[in-house]
Every structure is written in structure tokens, then in C-alpha cells.
């Protein structure tokens, strides 16, 4: 907000200078010692404040050098990070710590599948970041902002990244099967309809033969399709409604057809076998959120260079993404709020995208050249900024619910996995998933 209200001077040095200026201004506003009333600590600082940030996985903030940058700008602040590898272990611990009010980091990360539960049950223990200095609501995608806002109107979580999806595909395998390899032509094969993606898969299989699969897994397709509908597992009233939601069942049945038609490599995502699938190149496409590009690059390795490319998905859809929250119980809640605001500001999100491939949830960042003009060398120099920005802006506002993670996990790891790997019918898989979810939701 402050960045915008200042008179901006004309930028004769072109777009790059604008970006630099924007970054400086945005950074400047969070650095402004006048911002937190009665707290001279950070800017003028002799006394050192140590802020801790608790994250899961390789969250990227540290890796992108954002902490170092913040510490350089705020000599009175030191930032330390604690990381737990898997969100399944991180999240229960976060809940326990919030419950007891101890053991918390000053800033904590929250995954999108948990955000509804956090805003519904923990909002009173979190700082309202919507009012923190340096936070500009207009800079964020409205739906991401809404996801971090509790019922009482307090925005307790600021979005970091989102997961707009594309389809990553192997050019060499497409060429061998007589399909186009240019990303615009590939995108046109299935534009607007996931069924066309299935048809393309059948055409691919007809040419490529039995040994080569079209997709990595059926559940990957299911996640991609469900990520594009406004209502998934909950209805507008906040009731669990996945059983009767045609969008969910439709996605399940469509994904099951990838298995029954023999188009799937029958892998489970994020397992060692899936990783090996990338390096051995035994599937031609995978639905890939922006954050997965780096993963594919790692797993497919140098041998896959110039083979992979990324095209637009049939429909805009989102998978994954994260938030930052600031617990009230922290010793430096005010300083922590400033840090969280700075870390999630458009300029920093752009940097995170540039360095780590996590796509910004701040739409204001899409105009920055580091995002808008971003190309990915590994993926045939694809204009990923443009592809994912278009996907992100077409994603409908998803209705989230507290048990999204449990429902999504059981649909994928129980229901769809039975169809994919055990050859069960779509109905059998669905029934097994429903039984597991019913049991999981029953308190």
C-alpha cells in the first residue's frame, strides 16, 4: 500500500529499473522504523531480536536467500529456521504447539490442505496479518487471500506460493508417437477438456505400444482435475459433500479410465519408484504444478534435458501452495508479523519463483519481469511465467474445508491407488475410499 502511495518517478532505465524500484520500495516499507509504533528495535537496533521460522520440507525461503537479505536490511534482526521434512509430521506438531502455546516458532508455515482447519480452529491463537504493516490485500490473488482469512474477518495467514498446473510432456516420446511437439500445438490437443487429454492418451498408446505409459499415475490426473473445480470436498455451507459432488466423482471416474485403458504407469507419486520413473522415462506426460518443475529436473537429470517441455493444462487448475502464520504466543509477534509480511510481498515472491520455481500468490508479482518473462531452460526454454500466470488467473475460488487433506489423501492413496495398482474397478476403488474417509472423519 505504502509503495503505491508514494509518487513514482518515471523509470528511464526500463522495465528492469521499475522492478528494482518496486522491490526496494516494498522492502523499504517493511524496513521503515516508523511503522510499528513504540518499537524502535529493528531499524535503530543495537539489541538483537532473534526470529525463528518453522517450515516443512525444502520450503525455499532460506534457499532463495531471503533471510540473508532481510537480515542485511534489518541489522537488529537474526533469523533462524527449523525445518521438518514432511508436512504429515510437521502439521500435528504445529497443532500441539498451538494448543499448549509453547515450542512455537515466531513464523510458521502452513500447507494449503491444512489452511481451512487452521483458520477454523486456531484463528484466535494467530496474529491478524491483514492489518500488519506492509501488507497490501490488493497485491494478492483474491482467492488466496480469502483462504487465509478466518470467519471473523481476520487474515491470519498470508499466502506464499500457489500451484497452477501445466502438463509436462516428453517431446521425444510425443514425436515417436506421431504427436506434435510444439507446446502451443500440444496444448491445443486437449485445450478446454480433460476428456481430450484422455483421447490424446489413447492415440499415444495406439502408436507407442504397450510398454510406454501416457501418464505417471491415475491419481495425478485426479488431483489435477479436481484442482480446477470451485467445489471439491465441501459445499458452500461447509458440509462434507464429496460423495454427491459430480465434479469429484467425475474426476475420479475419468482418472480411473486412465488406469483401465492402460495409459498409466501405475506409480504412486512422491515415492522412490516414481522418481525412478522420471529417470527411466517410462511415461510421456505428468500434470505438473509450477513447484514440480524443479522436482522433475532433479529426478529426470541431465539425461532428460531437452526432452521435457511444458504445455498448458486442459483447464486452469491449482495444486498445493502454502501460507505463513504468526502465533500470538511468540515473544516477538510484532517483529514476526513484519517479517511474514516482507517474505510474502510480491518482490520476494518473485525472487522465490526465480530461484525455486514456487509460483507467486501475489498477482502483483506477475507483472515483474522476473516472473512475466521467466523461461525454464530445462523445459525447452518454455515461457513458464506466462503459462502459469494464465493458469493461475483462471483458477476458480476453491471452497476449502478443514479435512481436505484427509479426503484428498484417501481418495488418492486408497481409492485411486487400488484402481491403478491393484486393477480394481472404479466403483470398488470409490467404495474403499469412502469407507476409509467415513472412518477418518468420524470423531
Amino acid at each position: 500500500m505504502r509503495a503505491r502511495s508514494r509518487p513514482s518517478s518515471p523509470a528511464p532505465l526500463g522495465a528492469l529499473a521499475v522492478a528494482a524500484a518496486a522491490a526496494l520500495l516494498l522492502a523499504g516499507c517493511s524496513q521503515d522504523p516508523a511503522d510499528p509504533p513504540g518499537q524502535g528495535g529493528a531499524g535503530s537496533g543495537k539489541a538483537t531480536t532473534t526470529l525463528t521460522v518453522g517450515v516443512f520440507g525444502a520450503f525455499g525461503l532460506k534457499e532463495a536467500g531471503l533471510y540473508d537479505e532481510y537480515m542485511a536490511q534489518n541489522p537488529g534482526v537474526r533469523i533462524e529456521q527449523t525445518s521438518i521434512e514432511r508436512n504429515e509430521n510437521y502439521y500435528p506438531q504445529l497443532l500441539t504447539h498451538l494448543g499448549t502455546g509453547s515450542g512455537l516458532a515466531d513464523v510458521q508455515a502452513v500447507e494449503v490442505n491444512n489452511i481451512a482447519e487452521i483458520t477454523a480452529t486456531q484463528a484466535d491463537k494467530l496474529v491478524d496479518l491483514g492489518r500488519a504493516p506492509g501488507v497490501d490485500k490488493a497485491a494478492y490473488l483474491p482467492w488466496k487471500w480469502a483462504q487465509g482469512t478466518a470467519k471473523n474477518g481476520a487474515t491470519v495467514a498470508l499466502g506464499t506460493d500457489i500451484g497452477p498446473q501445466g502438463i509436462c510432456y516428453r517431446k521425444d516420446l510425443f514425436a515417436a508417437a506421431g504427436l506434435p511437439t510444439d507446446r502451443a500445438a500440444v496444448g491445443a490437443l486437449w485445450a478446454g477438456d480433460w476428456n481430450k487429454y484422455l483421447e490424446t492418451g489413447k492415440a499415444y498408446k495406439a502408436k507407442a505400444g504397450d510398454g510406454k505409459a501416457f501418464v505417471d499415475s491415475a491419481s495425478g490426473v485426479m488431483a489435477a482435475v479436481t484442482g480446477g473445480s470451485a467445489q471439491r470436498f465441501y459445499d458452500d455451507q461447509g458440509k462434507v459433500a464429496y460423495k454427491t459432488n459430480p465434479a469429484v466423482r467425475g474426476a475420479f471416474d475419468l482418472a480411473a479410465r486412465f488406469a483401465s485403458e492402460g495409459l498409466s504407469a501405475k506409480l504412486q507419486q512422491f515415492t522412490p519408484a516414481w522418481d525412478q520413473g522420471f529417470s527411466n522415462g517410462n511415461f510421456a506426460t505428468v500434470s505438473c504444478p509450477a513447484w514440480m518443475l524443479g522436482y522433475i529436473q532433479d529426478k529426470a537429470g541431465p539425461a532428460g534435458k531437452d526432452k521435457w517441455d511444458v504445455a498448458a493444462a486442459p483447464k486452469p487448475s491449482n495444486w498445493g501452495g502454502s501460507f505463513l502464520v504468526v502465533p500470538k504466543a511468540g515473544k516477538h509477534a510484532q517483529e514476526a508479523a513484519k517479517l511474514a509480511a516482507w517474505l510474502t510481498a510480491p518482490a520476494q515472491q518473485a525472487k522465490l519463483f526465480e530461484k525455486r520455481g514456487s509460483f507467486p500468490s501475489a498477482s502483483a508479482a506477475y507483472r515483474l519481469p522476473t516472473v512475466a518473462g521467466a523461461h525454464h531452460a530445462y523445459f525447452g526454454d518454455a515461457p513458464i511465467g506466462e503459462i502459469f500466470a494464465r493458469a493461475a488467473e483462471g483458477v476458480p475460488v476453491t471452497v476449502l474445508g478443514p479435512k481436505d487433506l484427509v479426503i484428498a489423501q484417501n481418495l488418492a492413496d486408497v481409492g485411486m491407488l487400488q484402481v491403478d495398482q491393484k486393477g480394481r474397478s472404479a466403483q470398488e476403488g470409490w467404495d474403499a475410499a469412502v469407507a476409509a474417509i467415513d472412518n477418518a472423519l468420524d470423531q
Binding site: P92, G99, T121, N282, Q409, N439
Partner: protein, 324 residues
């Protein structure tokens, strides 16, 4: 105040000197008695304090929580539900499935484990060159972390590129889906357990074997007993208490089996496979508590496991005919 005491003390001390001496002696003997009576308690107190804090209290609190509906999102809010968390286990298909899996995986891992350990110990008991090396080598799997070992086994048991399937294919067997087959996955999980614990048990057996008096073997040999007969009729009977001990420890371990099946899933949650085909009780407990966030239900499962162990112990005691 301090001035006063300084002034008073020289005057008062000679007058009360004898009294004070007597009192000191009484005091000393009393202290001595206290020391004799109380210091043993002081010495064992740390154990009991820790046991109360980290053993007894959690045990009792888990029992208390099992009678409530408690969610991890708000552990402070407990709603009394009586025995519902226990009675619902009767029609909980997932619980019975987990119990079945625990028993079969327990048998598949414990029986071969102890048999192999016995054979290994017997071999190590021979006079052989570099015996210390072999003893250490046998123990190394035990020193490996569950996580590291299991991750390697996940790769070995891979469906598409696993070494086990490659080895099977060289002798003409088709690829086995070690993750999805019910028996196959349980055998795979058991293999990890056997690999990790055999050496540990072998060393326990070896220690017991070395305590068997040599003249027993000598006289057996004089009676014309073969090596095998010596093993059956001298070694095994002498080892009976040790075998019983390892059975108990392995049974407890098998009941609580958790890390191996969790990580064998390739890091995709606590379901124990798409059909829950290798979900053990420990894993189901974890899923209820830390994935589904139902602490009350998880506590009830924990107590059910505890009660089942007590039942098994009672049954064993009956079979063996009274306490030993």
C-alpha cells in the same frame, strides 16, 4: 540485628555448650537413621520420578483420554463418551484388519527371526577365526536406523526396478508387486524386521550358549550323541529361559511394529498400502491420532493393544503352568 548476634554469641555459647553437644549427638544419630532409612528412596527416586512422568502418567492419561472425544486441533476440550471408543472397535473393520496384519506380520517375522538367530548363534559358538568380526557383523543391522534400512528395502522391493524382482526374473519368476500383494507386502515388511533383529537375538543366544557347561557336551559326546543331537538335547534345553525371554521381547516388538510398515509405504502416509494390506495396529493408532487427529480414538487403540498384551501374557502363564 547482625550486631546483636555478634554480641550475644560469645556469652551464650559456653553456657549452652554441653546441651548443644548432646543435642548435636541426638541430631546426628537421628540424621544417621534417616539417612539409613531414606537414602535408598532417594537413590531410586530419579527412576520413579521419570517413570511417573514418562511412563505412568502417560499411561493413565491415555486411558482417561480414551474415554473422551478429543481432537488434536483442541486437546484441551474433552467430551465424555464413556466406553464408546472401545465398543466401536468391535465393528471397526480397519481395526480388525490391522490386528490380523499385526499377527501375521508378527508370525512371519518372529518365527524365522528366532530360528535363524538360533542357528547363527550355534555357528558363532564354534571355535572360528575372526569370531569377534562375525559377532560385530551380525549386530550391525541392529545398529542401523529403521528409516535408513527401510528406505533401502523399499528400493530392493521395487516393482519395476527392484533388485529382488530382478533376481526372481533371472530364475524365471514373474515380477511380484511387493507393495500391493497382501502376502507379498507382509513378507517384505517382515524381511526388514528379520534383517534388523536376527543379529541382536543371535548375540543373546550366543551369550547363553557360552554359559552352558562344557562337560555336558563332553558326556553327551561320550554317550555317542551327534552334533545335532547335542544341539537338540543339550543346547536347546539349556537355552529355554533365554528362548522364552526372546519370544516375549519379540512379541512385544511385533505388537508395536510401526516404523517399518510406515516407511515401507514409500512415505505416503499411514494407510499401510492402498488396501491397508500392511497396516499394523501401531500404524492404525498413528493414523487415527496424527493423520485423522482423533486423539480419543487413538488412545483407545493404544489401550486395547496394552490389554491384548496382558491377555497374551496371562495365556502364556497358564500354558506354562504358574509363574516362574
Amino acid at each position: 540485628m547482625s550486631d546483636e548476634t555478634v554480641l550475644l554469641s560469645p556469652a551464650s555459647s559456653p553456657a549452652t555448650g554441653r546441651d548443644a553437644g548432646g543435642r548435636r549427638q541426638v541430631w546426628r544419630s537421628r540424621r544417621y537413621r534417616w539417612d539409613l532409612r531414606l537414602s535408598p528412596y532417594a537413590f531410586v527416586a530419579p527412576f520413579f520420578l521419570f517413570f511417573t512422568a514418562f511412563g505412568l502418567f502417560p499411561l493413565l492419561y491415555t486411558g482417561w483420554a480414551a474415554l473422551h472425544q478429543v481432537e488434536l486441533t483442541d486437546p484441551g476440550a474433552m467430551t465424555w463418551v464413556g466406553l464408546r471408543n472401545f465398543t466401536r472397535l468391535w465393528d471397526d473393520a480397519f481395526f480388525w484388519n490391522a490386528l490380523r496384519n499385526t499377527v501375521t506380520i508378527g508370525l512371519l517375522s518372529t518365527v524365522p527371526q528366532l530360528l535363524i538367530a538360533l542357528c547363527l548363534a550355534h555357528l558363532l559358538n564354534y571355535r572360528l577365526r575372526g569370531s569377534a568380526f562375525f559377532r560385530v557383523a551380525v549386530l550391525t543391522p541392529y545398529a542401523t536406523s529403521v528409516a535408513a534400512a527401510t528406505l533401502v528395502f523399499v528400493l530392493l522391493f521395487g516393482r519395476d526396478y527392484g533388485m529382488v524382482n530382478w533376481a526372481l526374473s533371472t530364475v524365471g519368476f514373474g515380477p511380484v508387486d511387493w507393495q500391493n500383494g497382501t502376502l507379498a507386502s507382509q513378507v517384505a515388511v517382515s524381511t526388514i524386521v528379520v534383517w534388523r533383529w536376527t543379529g541382536y537375538n543371535a548375540l543373546i543366544y550366543l551369550a547363553a550358549m557360552q554359559a552352558v557347561p562344557g562337560d555336558l557336551y563332553e558326556s553327551a559326546a561320550l554317550d555317542g550323541a551327534s552334533r545335532w543331537q547335542q544341539f537338540r538335547h543339550v543346547t536347546v534345553p539349556a537355552l529355554r529361559p533365554t528362548i522364552f525371554f526372546t519370544c516375549v521381547v519379540s512379541t512385544i516388538g511385533a505388537t508395536q511394529l510401526f516404523g517399518e510398515p510406515l516407511l515401507f509405504n514409500g512415505g505416503s502416509g499411514a494407510t499401510g498400502g492402498s488396501d491397508h494390506q500392511f497396516q499394523t495396529l501401531g500404524l492404525y493408532l498413528y493414523e487415527q491420532g496424527w493423520v485423522n487427529l482423533h486423539l480419543g480414538r487413538a488412545s483407545a487403540i493404544a489401550w486395547a493393544m496394552f490389554l491384548m498384551l496382558l491377555l497374551v501374557a496371562g495365556a502364556v502363564r497358564l500354558v506354562r503352568g504358574g509363574p516362574r
